[in-house]
Symmetry: C3
Subunit: 363 residues, 3 copies
């Protein structure tokens, strides 16, 4: 087990914890100065974001040689991770799995949502505690919002606390997606002065889906960014997010005209109309073509612009756009693997070894 230097959840009452705001709860999931349980994007401050992005870049650099890959695969090779995906998602699952494999962690998985039936009436807490008993870390996706937090609290109050990573829960949180989005922006603007001061548009279905909400919130850590929310009025961004931006002094605008705005943008974050949440087919009335990137529209964009998408996509980005150097969404997929590997080594307290290897490499 890793050194859990300061277990702040020990002895805390669950109901009292649950009643706190995210900002108030965040310190409980730390281990000294480090993040221990990764549950929601509000846990991440600028220092943490910079550190994880730096680790990802160092790890990618190390991974370029066979020797470097051999070093990485020994890094956590005596550890085991449980991947509990009660809500199936092959793409997030495989990203975490590959991250573990890069670091040599071995894993066990339960990907089946029907497993509970087998559990013969036991509580969901007992099920997860059983699964986690054999492993050094639990990475979990669960349909119920807040469940990963409850497990983090439960395990931290057991004889065998292990860290919990939320790989997506309920409609609200998917913190590692937010991390990989930040990393993709940071990497893309490395030679352009960083994320600060950039004009970033979020396009499409901004009302539903957790990706945009989390990323927009994290943008408050980057001074002078300007955000544009481009969506049909019925799918515009949540007022609460705008209040958060106001409080942080982040400027923004709302609109419907993607094409008109394209020449001014440094990044467009495209999203899919999530019509699976429609109650009466309301998405059918939307002109989805107005919220799409095509080869024609590429011509209107800056040479240094960045196109992102959390995938899966439908018509929002034509496949012909893929070969344009500004298309970063396939790289974004790979970034997810690297950022998750970095997060895991950070939580399990092995990032210092990566720093030392990296320093030797570049010196």
């Amino acid at each position: 087990m890793i050194q859990y230097r300061e277990n702040r959840l020990r002895g805390v009452d669950w109901n009292e914890l649950e009643a706190l705001s995210p900002a108030e709860r965040a310190p409980y999931f730390m281990n000294g100065d480090s993040v221990y349980h990764v549950l929601f994007a509000q846990q991440f401050n600028r220092e943490f974001l910079d550190r994880i992005c730096e680790l990802a870049t160092r790890t990618r650099r190390i991974a370029k040689t066979r020797g470097g890959m051999m070093f990485l695969k020994e890094l956590l090779s005596e550890k085991r991770a449980m991947l509990y995906f009660a809500q199936p998602s092959s793409r997030t699952f495989l990203s975490f799995l590959a991250s573990c494999e890069i670091l040599g962690l071995r894993s066990g998985e339960v990907r089946d949502s029907n497993t509970s039936s087998e559990m013969k009436g036991e509580s969901p807490e007992d099920t997860v505690r059983t699964f986690s008993s054999y492993f050094d870390m639990i990475i979990m996706r669960h349909p119920q919002g807040g469940f990963a937090e409850r497990i983090a609290w439960l395990l931290s109050n057991s004889e065998r606390p292990i860290p919990v990573i939320n790989a997506g829960s309920g409609a609200d949180q998917h913190p590692t997606q937010a991390l990989l989005d930040v990393y993709t922006l940071q990497r893309s603007f490395e030679g352009e002065g960083g994320i600060e001061g950039k004009r970033i548009a979020f396009v499409g279905d901004l009302a539903r889906g957790r990706t945009v909400r989390s990323l927009a919130t994290l943008m408050t850590h980057y001074p002078r960014v300007h955000l544009a929310f481009i969506a049909p009025p019925s799918l515009q961004i949540d007022e609460k997010i705008l209040r958060t931006l106001d409080a942080a002094g982040i400027t923004y605008e709302l609109g419907e005209d993607l094409v008109g705005m394209l020449p001014d943008l440094d990044a467009v974050y495209m999203t899919r109309i999530q019509d699976e949440w429609d109650t009466q087919g309301e998405s059918k009335a939307i002109d989805v073509g107005a919220y799409a990137i095509t080869v024609d529209r590429l011509a209107r964009m800056k040479d240094t612009a960045v196109i992102m998408h959390p995938l899966p996509r439908r018509g929002e980005i034509s496949p012909e756009v893929d070969s344009d150097p500004r298309a970063k969404y396939w790289r974004q997929v790979r970034n997810g693997m690297w950022i998750r590997a970095s997060l895991i080594m950070h939580i399990l307290d092995r990032d210092g070894e990566v720093d030392r290897y990296y320093d030797d490499l570049v010196s």
Copy 2:
């Protein structure tokens, strides 16, 4: 392949073998002096039980350091295990998987009960033989009692005999569960003079489920234990088990009054009322509260008492009991992983290397 020093199944007729009693069949599954195929609890004598428990304790001790974990994960790293779970069970599956991972064994799995449909009418023996062809050991759970034995016989009569571990078959045998239960008792009574002479109660549904039957039978190897079977009359223990205890000179009592008996007990082994086996809802009439451990009842128990449960639990043990030091059922889960790892290294003839590493460690 490991050295199969003496294949006693070679040339034996299946029908003749099947007609023997467990005690008569047991020698056929040995490899010289060692157990090779692990199929039923009657194969285990006291010497074997002590050896496997000792290995588990040594392995746990070795695993406390990173260096020790690295040693363990090389131990069988050139071997591969097939996990064939025709009857799904995530908890037993993950326990075996983690055991393999600790020892560096890589694995393949078929967890789907519907796989047979894919097998286009081939015999179940051909299916398992195909699966086993790529691996050095097969760990299997199957709904049909005796099927694991049949496969052990079949493979031992092929060009490529490999050991078979029964991970649960039919209604009868789950030998590694019995091992982990013995190990939990042994570990819990380490400072209390061992299992010998202890008063151990089995509580709840003693008629159905294989756990209690196997463990009670293994208690015959521990002189002077006294067993209590506490259950509603309709769910009392099988007469056959009592005859086995009589033959071994083990004393026992039957009763319904858990609360009254609590102050005298050294261990309580709780079980769930398995109402999935009800034919006409007969369990509904049972006062399940009478066969449960609550925080109130804890006060009546000895300070050194041990509470066990094979899990999953329902109401038999309140979650509030979990934090009491006498509650050993979560530790029991972990013990399962260590005892299975020990069993695998023993079967694959690498336990000597563990002994040597351990001797260096403590000398």
Copy 3:
């Protein structure tokens, strides 16, 4: 990533590629002189077949010691393979998995044909590209003929080309089955002058199923073989295959009398009547007993004859035949694992290291 010395698919138009014959398409899937994407049996020439068989034999030899297994499991231990089985097949899946494990490759898997539903309307190409993003190689089975080729083309035109192995697609191609069949013949005739000049019969359902077609086609690389196709008239071999044999100067005969022909045969390749393809139960009229090997019929065969079967079998070969030394079908299963391991090391350009280890071993 491995060195993709010469990406001949870069910039090629898909429609133009698809319009070519297999022989014309084959060069596009090479990497310099080596096969890179493994998609159809027509890619294999004699030199390639000999090389892969030689590698398999060397690998089996190396694997006989613990040290050799340790060498092999480091060979590709920094690589990861994606096993995407949109059409489930536990036997082929486990064979590839074990191959990867022998070489130390770690893997991710999607075995579920229903995964696409989760993919919320994205294109199959996007799904596979996402899956492949985290891995160094993709091994895929897909119900749609030609899909693996399309993915090979797509990835070769992306920023991150990785090799694709077809593990079975549509009704037509299963190139690694053909390789393991050739290897089994080659191994079986090692002391008998090789495959050249042997009399080989294909028996059973020769009209449906891809195994016989592929293997018969590859026999054109072995001078002076004589082929017999023994089947009920309604299930006889495709005329196209016979034209291919004619063109290569391979002699053959068609017939129904297995028993009469047995004394002259060097190898019989048995197959199952695939009645799952029946449209109106036409297989029911066939006397399947006429196309079967029994213990009685064994007596009519040469002492050096070879009995093969791609499995699963039904009544075509009695289980009693299994213990006869001429029965090679269980060995054939194992050969599949070794030949796939050899193919993977060849594609990923590590076979030179195996040659060097082997040379040290035998010198």
